[in-house]
Symmetry: C3
Subunit: 139 residues, 3 copies
Amino acid sequence: MTENTVKTALTPATHTTPPAKFSHGVKKGNILQVAGQVGFLPAEEGKAPTPAGPTLREQTLQTFANVKAILEEGGATWDDVMMMRVYLTDVDHFAEMNEIYNAYFEEQGLKAPASARTTVYVGLPKGLLIEIDALAVLG
Amino acid sequence: MTENTVKTALTPATHTTPPAKFSHGVKKGNILQVAGQVGFLPAEEGKAPTPAGPTLREQTLQTFANVKAILEEGGATWDDVMMMRVYLTDVDHFAEMNEIYNAYFEEQGLKAPASARTTVYVGLPKGLLIEIDALAVLG
Amino acid sequence: MTENTVKTALTPATHTTPPAKFSHGVKKGNILQVAGQVGFLPAEEGKAPTPAGPTLREQTLQTFANVKAILEEGGATWDDVMMMRVYLTDVDHFAEMNEIYNAYFEEQGLKAPASARTTVYVGLPKGLLIEIDALAVLG
């Protein structure tokens, strides 16, 4: 086994502890997987995980930041992302989420083609409006 | 970086423009990811995306066609697909979807073992009964 | 094409026949994908697939066993798993599932970092409380 095929956990210092024994992200060889991220603000010791504000905009932008921190921890960028899975709780949030999504990725200045994406509407724990995970392939 | 590790967008000419800045499919190295496809008929200029008929059968077959077009755009076939995620809106559609699924893949004349699959029941935008995405590994 | 890039189906002898033409697992090169597994007990000839007990605990542990059998069929272990997708039907099951999850993986004695994970709440066929699929990268 070469160093390339070791599986490493990606755990940004800002992230709250996962609610179970899973990793926020893992990398093995050229594959990087980001676990489902929600809009939790950076962890504060002794404080329960708290979502960024009540609005879809605040939660979505914080979720993007949380995904990005894991990508960066693994030496990847948004350009390496192949697939994003977006989980919303309400079909009526689709248009607003897309607007936030487009503006965010325009700001990020992607150099590679945009990731693929699937958006579906599911249940999430109380107070959470969006969850996103991502699969990246490093170059 | 070799040509193999460039990330390319897969955008069949027949496809409607995605509702946000994501790609219908992306390929990087030997990994090909197809975004969530629905049963939209081939794009017509100046016309909003329109699902194929109101029935599960019509939408499912059009969704398969839409996934297949993206695979082909990336030089892949159904035989390269490792995983399909099928999103239905109604548990009562499971048996009928499986019947359509089986007949379709029998017709496709697969040479390799069938893909893995997960089917779950979620919300989708009004009028849509099925959404499918796919992960392929090229040979 | 080398032997490494042949796609093979992973079909543990204990598993019930899938309800459609998909594989319980597939492996190609170093990528192994496990299809959505539920808590069905080992197959018995002439008997319809039957979930392990009515409780979340029984179904979850059987689901883990079913995922693990597919990993092993492909020469992989839990340590190779990059991503697990957990589908629950009820947000109120989250804490209990996490407790079962943690105890199970502690018992498994993982040597590599824990997999990433996404948990969402969806509809499942009647009687099923949990479904799990997994993506593994072999070392």
